[in-house]
């Protein structure tokens, strides 16, 4: 465990995870530290693989939607949204306009509660429990609104192939607008607190920096990339669901440090609240679902902007009732490599907040790992598709 370098400083290997108070999910980081300074970092994932891609190949299309919804508890709308859009793309199903709007409303409400969750977790990691308690208390308002709209706090069960399942009642629109108005004041309050508070500035300024070049080189996505100045937002680029009807810009900040990450997410919080208000105000009339016949053989790949960044789903059908192959690239997988420049040279005290700052979701992103004869290797497509049950 212990070693000394040429200057006589003790080197310690500090393991963080797979079970650690700072990580809600299993991932393992091994830090080599000299005193309080981190000089090397290595990471391992593969502790919580649930073989969802394989399970998707074993059930008929409508049931797969509910399965992909359970990939992530926080992004439980982004995954099925991306998935049903793939199926609709293969089968050439035209989704009614009202359904597209309702899908977008859920996606934005999800972003609001996810970013508020992030602010709370970040506060917790730097020992600022009051920020955690406050944002999570206000986050309950969004959860209550979601429960009002669809009956569930998470796993909304909203997406089906060809539309949405739950219509939005007229009397719910006004209560939704009043909740959104209240959240707007909360977002202002949190923004003011985060930008003015000296203890947050002390723990966040210049911590976990990521240059724009590094962000592009390492393929960072979502708010993590935007905090480094990469103005890329899948909602703006791909104009899926109803995003094409509204005009907005990606929110960016400079430097990629913890404060920049907070600024990006808080601005997106404001933006999402504005977008939700617009969506509720302009909700078109009409049906929310269309019938569809058979799903032909075909393949489709597409992206949506999950709260954590760009989410990619690939679907391949073969004319039967089952998928030939489903491939999911969760945003955290793209963001993990950006940990390395963020961690190098930081203090041990900054590890949790840097780890939390990219808003990781390790279980969603996990890959199957086989450890054999002391060597680890990832499982590829051939093994996954072989030996179908």
């Amino acid at each position: 465990m212990e070693d000394t370098n040429e200057r006589g400083f003790a080197r310690l290997k500090v393991p963080i995870g797979p079970s650690h108070p700072a990580l809600e999910e299993p991932a393992r980081f091994i830090f080599e530290v000299e005193g309080e300074k981190v000089i090397d970092v290595d990471y391992e994932i593969g502790y919580n693989h649930r073989s969802i891609e394989r399970l998707c190949q074993e059930r008929p299309f409508p049931k797969v939607v509910y399965l992909v919804e359970r990939i992530c508890g926080i992004c439980s709308h982004a995954h099925p949204l991306c998935h049903v859009e793939r199926v609709e793309d293969i089968a050439d199903i035209e989704v009614p306009e009202r359904a597209r709007y309702i899908r977008t409303i859920y996606a934005e409400l999800e972003r609001i509660h996810s970013h508020m969750l992030w602010a709370g977790v970040a506060g917790e990691e730097i020992g600022y429990h009051t920020l955690f308690m406050y944002t999570w208390r206000e986050r309950e308002k969004v959860m209550d609104l979601l429960e009002l709209l669809c009956g569930n706090r998470v796993m909304y069960g909203c997406n089906v192939i060809g539309g949405v399942k739950w219509n939005i009642a007229e009397e719910h629109v006004s209560s939704a607008l009043s909740v959104l108005g209240y959240l707007d004041t909360v977002a202002d309050k949190v923004t003011k607190a985060v930008l003015k508070d000296s203890s947050i500035a002390e723990r966040g300024k210049g911590i976990g920096c990521l240059s724009k070049e590094d962000a592009i080189r390492l393929g960072a996505v979502g708010p993590n990339a935007r905090a480094s100045g990469v103005a890329e937002d899948t909602r703006v680029m791909c104009k899926y669901a109803a995003y094409g009807d509204f005009d907005f810009d990606p929110q960016t900040a400079q430097g990629g440090d913890v404060v920049a990450q907070a600024i990006v997410r808080l601005r997106e919080l404001k933006q999402s609240i504005w977008l939700c208000k617009e969506l509720f105000a302009n909700l078109p009339d009409g049906p929310i679902q269309v019938e569809y016949d058979e799903i032909p053989a075909g393949r489709s790949v597409g992206r949506v902007e999950a709260p954590r960044g760009e989410l990619i789903h690939y679907a391949e059908t073969n004319g039967t009732n089952f998928f030939e192959r489903i491939k999911i690239r969760a945003p955290t997988l793209a963001n993990i490599p950006s940990y390395v420049p963020k961690f190098l040279g930081c203090q041990v005290a900054d590890i949790p907040i840097i780890a939390a700052s990219i808003d990781p979701c390790f279980s969603c992103t996990d890959r199957m790992v086989i450890v054999k004869d002391g060597r680890r290797r990832l499982v590829g497509k051939r093994e996954l598709t072989a030996g179908r049950i």
Partner: protein, 311 residues
Amino acid sequence: MIEEIIIALVYAFVAALLLQGIRRIVVAHSQFRKGPSIFQTFYDFFKLLGKESLTPNVTSPLLFNLAPILSAGAMFVAALIVPLAAATPAVGAGDLIVVIYLLAIPPIALILGGSASGSPYGAIGAAREVALLIAYEIPFVIAMITAAIAAGSFQLSTIGTTAYITVVPLAAIAAIWTLPAAAAVQPFDVAEAETEIVSGPYVEYSGPNLALLQLGQWLKTFLYASLIAVVFFGTSMFHYQPIVNFVIQFVIVAVLVSIFIAFWQATTGRTRVTRLLKYYWSIPTVLAIIDLILYLAGVRYMHLLFGWAGV
């Protein structure tokens, strides 16, 4: 004599644990929570006493198991010296110096236990505890010595008859400023820092050992606040029934803890260990030194400003 010792020990124990309950409730209320019962610390303590104490294989068992006893034992000795009520069982010339030394033992026990635990978290926690200890001890000791010089005595029963906040207020501010660091709560819980180093030195402790180690910390918080109450608020000047003295003493300590520990804890995040010296060796130390120099130079500014009779 024996009754006085028992009364002092029981009072210190009950008050220290009750104080933690008060602190937790104040913090909870400022975070929109209801918080635990005020007696939660008692439940935790007695539950831990009934659990098994494990000693990791890689430790030095003697040092590892000695640290909790050292920590709690030193604090019970200190409870006999700090005048908590009218009667103080152990009194002697220069007992202020003894108490200051005794109050440094729980951190040293944490450092020993953390280093002996064989865990990298314990080692980092021990290193951080060293930094914390030298950061707050210096302004605290200078402030205490200033008050002692103003009193012309190092004996607590003599110092405690005057509220020295009216004589050397800057030193009093410096001493109160060190309270949250001595209590090791946010923003100064760097040695524990459960999200960073999994509660540091405590990580390998369990059962009665953990209970004693934490008891040492709780008693230290209480006695530290009591010492400030005695020296700067003159709680030894009251000569009522012991029970009334206890209540007055406890109320002053509880107010100090609620305002300067719990409120501070609720409104800040954890600081970084590299910032500790900057916090404590700047303003608090300078304030304490200014008061020390002014007093030695014979400048009684409180007397000039407000006409206090002073000493």
